[in-house]
C-alpha cells in the first residue's frame, strides 16, 4: 500500500471528524479512526512503524494509568494518545493520525492481541484482570488465555511489564520473550477476587496473605521489582513509572518515592450539581466497586447503577461486593438499575433511599458535598453535563 493512499485517507478522516464536531454529532473522536480504517485497513501498522509505541491494558485503571504515562513521557518527546476511554482499534487509529515520537495508548483487553500484532510496541503494560462485563468477556480465564497467546507470539523486542500479584496477568506473561515482573508484596486484598484456580494448570490455588504458589510453578514470590502494597491508584502509578523509565524518562523511578497522594490516579471528576459539590468516581465491576467503597471518606454518598452494554448488562455481581462500610451513612441510590442495588443494600442492612434520577438524588442532600460512585455510562453522562 502506497503512502499516498494513507495520506489521502488521513486527510479525509480528519475533515470528516471536524465536520462531525461542527455539526454537533458527538465529540468527533471515534469517527476519524473508523473512516481511516475503512479507507486504509492497515493504517495502524503503517502509522505505528515510525514511533515508540506503549500500550496499556487491564480490567481497571487503563485510562488513568495511560494519562499518567503520557504526562511522564511528554517530558522527553512528543506523544499522541487515545481520547479518554476510546480504546478499540478505531481509537488507536484515530490517535496515530498525528505525528509524534511516542504513542501511549490504552487498549481494550479483548482487542489487545490484535493491536500488539499491528503496532509491534516497545512496551506493553499489563495491569490486572478481574471480572467485568461477563456477558461479553464470558470468563476471566478466557481473556487471560488470549493474552498468553499474545505474549508468546509478540516480537521478542516487546517488553511486557506486568503486576504478577494478579495470577491471570502472571500466567499471560509466562510465554513472553521479555517481561518485567512487578510485585507489591501480594495481591491488594488477601487474595485475588477471582483467583481460586490456577489459570495456568487448573489446580486449586491456595492464597496466603496475597501470595500464591502453584505446584505448576506459577507464583508471585519472584519478581524483578518489589514495592510496598497500596491502593490501586498507587500500584498503577508505580507501573506507569516503570514503563516511563524503560522508554527513557529521567528520574521516573524516583517519582515513586516522592509522591504520596494518588487520588489523581482515580477516574474521578469534581463538579457542582444544583449547589451540591460532588466528587464523581467511575466504578464498574466488583474489583472497582470494592476499591471505590474503601475510598469513601464522607457521610454523604450517591450510588448510580446502570446496565448498558459497556456497564455489563447483568447486575448479579453487585452481590459479590460488600457494601457494609456504607452502613450509617446517608446513602441515596439511583440509575437505570438502581432498584437492584437498593435491594442488595437492603439485604446487607444498609439503609438507603431509592430515587429515579440523579437530580433527585442531589436534591436529597440539597447543600454540602457528596461522593458519587457511578457506573461507566452514568459517569460519562455526568461528566458531559
Amino acid at each position: 500500500m502506497g503512502s499516498l493512499r494513507l495520506k489521502v485517507a488521513i486527510a479525509i478522516a480528519k475533515s470528516a471528524g471536524a465536520l462531525s464536531k461542527s455539526l454537533g454529532r458527538g465529540s468527533g473522536e471515534t469517527l476519524p479512526g473508523r473512516i481511516l480504517l475503512t479507507l486504509c485497513p492497515n493504517a495502524i501498522e503503517l502509522l505505528a512503524q515510525s514511533r515508540v509505541v506503549i500500550l496499556v491494558s487491564g480490567t481497571n485503571g487503563k485510562t488513568s494509568t495511560t494519562k499518567e504515562l503520557v504526562s511522564q513521557v511528554r517530558t522527553v518527546g512528543t506523544v499522541v494518545t487515545s481520547s479518554s476511554g476510546s480504546n478499540l482499534s478505531r481509537g488507536v487509529a484515530g490517535a496515530l493520525m498525528q505525528d509524534s515520537v511516542f504513542a501511549v495508548l490504552e487498549v481494550d483487553e479483548l482487542h489487545l492481541p490484535e493491536v500488539v500484532a499491528q503496532t509491534n510496541p516497545a512496551v506493553v503494560l499489563l495491569l490486572n484482570l478481574t471480572r467485568d462485563q461477563l456477558h461479553r468477556m464470558h470468563e476471566v480465564k478466557r481473556v487471560a488465555a488470549r493474552w498468553h497467546e499474545m505474549c508468546k507470539s509478540a516480537d521478542p523486542s516487546t517488553l511486557f511489564i506486568a503486576d504478577v500479584d494478579d495470577p491471570f496477568v502472571n500466567f499471560a506473561i509466562t510465554g513472553a520473550a521479555s517481561a518485567v515482573r512487578v510485585s507489591f508484596g501480594g495481591a491488594a486484598h488477601s487474595r485475588h477476587p477471582d483467583g481460586a484456580v490456577c489459570p495456568s494448570c487448573g489446580r486449586y490455588l491456595d492464597w496466603n496473605d496475597g501470595k500464591y504458589h502453584c505446584d505448576c510453578g506459577l507464583s508471585n514470590e519472584y519478581a524483578n521489582h518489589t514495592y510496598d502494597g497500596g491502593s490501586a491508584g498507587y500500584r498503577n502509578f508505580v507501573l506507569a513509572s516503570l514503563a516511563a523509565d524503560y522508554v527513557g524518562v529521567h528520574n521516573a523511578l524516583s517519582n515513586i518515592e516522592l509522591r504520596s497522594d494518588y487520588r489523581g490516579m482515580e477516574r474521578a471528576t469534581e463538579k457542582v450539581f444544583a449547589g451540591v459539590k460532588a466528587r464523581v468516581r467511575l466504578t464498574k465491576n466488583p474489583a472497582s466497586w470494592t476499591e471505590a467503597l474503601a475510598g469513601v471518606t464522607g457521610n454523604n454518598v450517591i450510588l448510580v447503577l446502570n446496565a448498558r452494554e459497556v456497564d455489563g448488562i447483568d447486575t448479579s455481581w453487585i452481590w459479590d461486593v460488600s457494601c457494609a462500610s456504607l452502613a450509617g451513612k446517608r446513602v441515596v441510590v439511583t440509575g437505570e438499575r438502581g432498584a437492584d442495588l437498593a435491594y442488595r443494600l437492603h439485604v446487607e442492612g444498609v439503609q438507603n433511599t431509592l430515587v429515579d434520577t440523579f437530580d433527585e438524588a442531589i436534591a436529597v442532600f440539597g447543600v454540602g458535598s457528596v461522593e458519587v460512585l457511578a457506573a461507566y455510562t452514568a459517569f460519562f453522562g455526568l461528566v458531559g453535563r
Partner: protein, 227 residues
C-alpha cells in the same frame, strides 16, 4: 436454627450467586427464624447437618475442581435425607449425570437425572421462566454454553418464556424432590422472593411467608421489564 451451607463459593461464585444465601438468611430473619450461613471452601469437607445447600455458577476449571471434591459423596448423604439443595448454572450441571467443561465430558454427581452437552452457542441474556410449582413467572440472567437434557422422570424447573434455559429446549432447570437446579442468576432468590420462601418452607418444615414490600416491588419490576 437453619444452617445454610454455601458450597465452594470461591469456585462457584463467578456470577453473584452467593447472594442467594444472603437473601435466604435475610428473609428467614424477617420471619423470625434464626439462620447461620456457613461457607465451606474447597479444602474443607462438606458438613452433613446443613438444612439448605447452595451451589453457584463457575468457570470451567473451577467447576471441575468443585465437582471432583464433591464426588466423594459428601453431598449425597445430605440429599438422601431430603435436604434442600439449590444449584445454579455450573452448580446445576454438577448435580447431573454428566457435563462438559474444558471441552471434555465430565462425570457429574448424578443427583439429578439430567445430562449436559455443549450447546449450539453461548446463551447470554435476561431470562424469564414460568414455574408450575410456584405458579408464577421468575426472572434472572443466564450466561452459559450448556444444553441440558432431562432424563426419564426428570422434571423441568420452569417453562422458558424469554431466553434459552436448558439450551433452547423450551424448559429451564430440573427439580427432584427438594433438589432444584436452574440457569437463573440474578441472584435468582433476590429477584424471586417467592422461590426463597418455598426453599425456606421446605427446610423449616412449615410454611414461611415473609412480608418485605421492597423485595416484592423489585421482583415485580424485573418481571415487568423482562420480555
Amino acid at each position: 436454627m437453619l444452617k445454610i451451607i454455601r458450597v465452594h463459593n470461591e469456585l462457584l461464585g463467578t456470577y453473584g450467586d452467593r447472594g442467594n444465601a444472603d437473601v435466604l438468611a435475610f428473609r428467614a430473619g424477617l420471619a423470625g427464624i434464626a439462620t447461620a450461613i456457613v461457607d465451606i471452601s474447597y479444602r474443607e469437607s462438606i458438613p452433613s447437618d446443613g438444612d439448605i445447600y447452595l451451589l453457584g455458577g463457575a468457570e470451567d476449571a473451577a467447576q471441575i475442581l468443585s465437582c471432583n471434591a464433591l464426588s466423594g459423596g459428601s453431598l449425597h448423604g445430605a440429599v438422601e435425607k431430603g435436604t434442600v439443595v439449590l444449584a445454579i448454572c455450573a452448580g446445576f450441571q454438577i448435580l447431573g449425570k454428566s457435563f462438559y467443561a474444558n471441552g471434555e465430558e465430565q462425570r457429574g454427581l448424578g443427583l439429578l437425572n439430567v445430562t449436559t452437552v455443549p450447546g449450539t452457542s453461548r446463551y447470554v441474556g435476561d431470562i424469564k421462566v414460568h414455574s408450575e410449582l410456584l405458579g408464577i413467572d421468575l426472572t434472572g440472567f443466564e450466561n452459559h454454553g450448556g444444553k441440558t437434557l432431562l432424563g426419564a422422570g426428570a422434571q423441568a424447573f420452569g417453562k422458558v418464556l424469554v431466553g434459552h434455559g436448558n439450551g433452547d429446549t423450551g424448559v429451564d432447570g430440573a427439580v427432584s424432590g427438594n433438589i432444584f437446579g436452574t440457569y437463573l442468576h440474578g441472584p435468582v432468590l433476590a429477584r424471586n422472593p417467592e422461590f426463597a420462601d418455598l426453599l425456606l418452607s421446605r427446610a423449616h418444615g412449615a410454611p414461611v411467608k415473609v412480608s418485605d414490600p421492597l423485595a416484592d416491588r423489585y421482583a415485580a419490576l424485573r418481571r415487568e421489564v423482562t420480555k
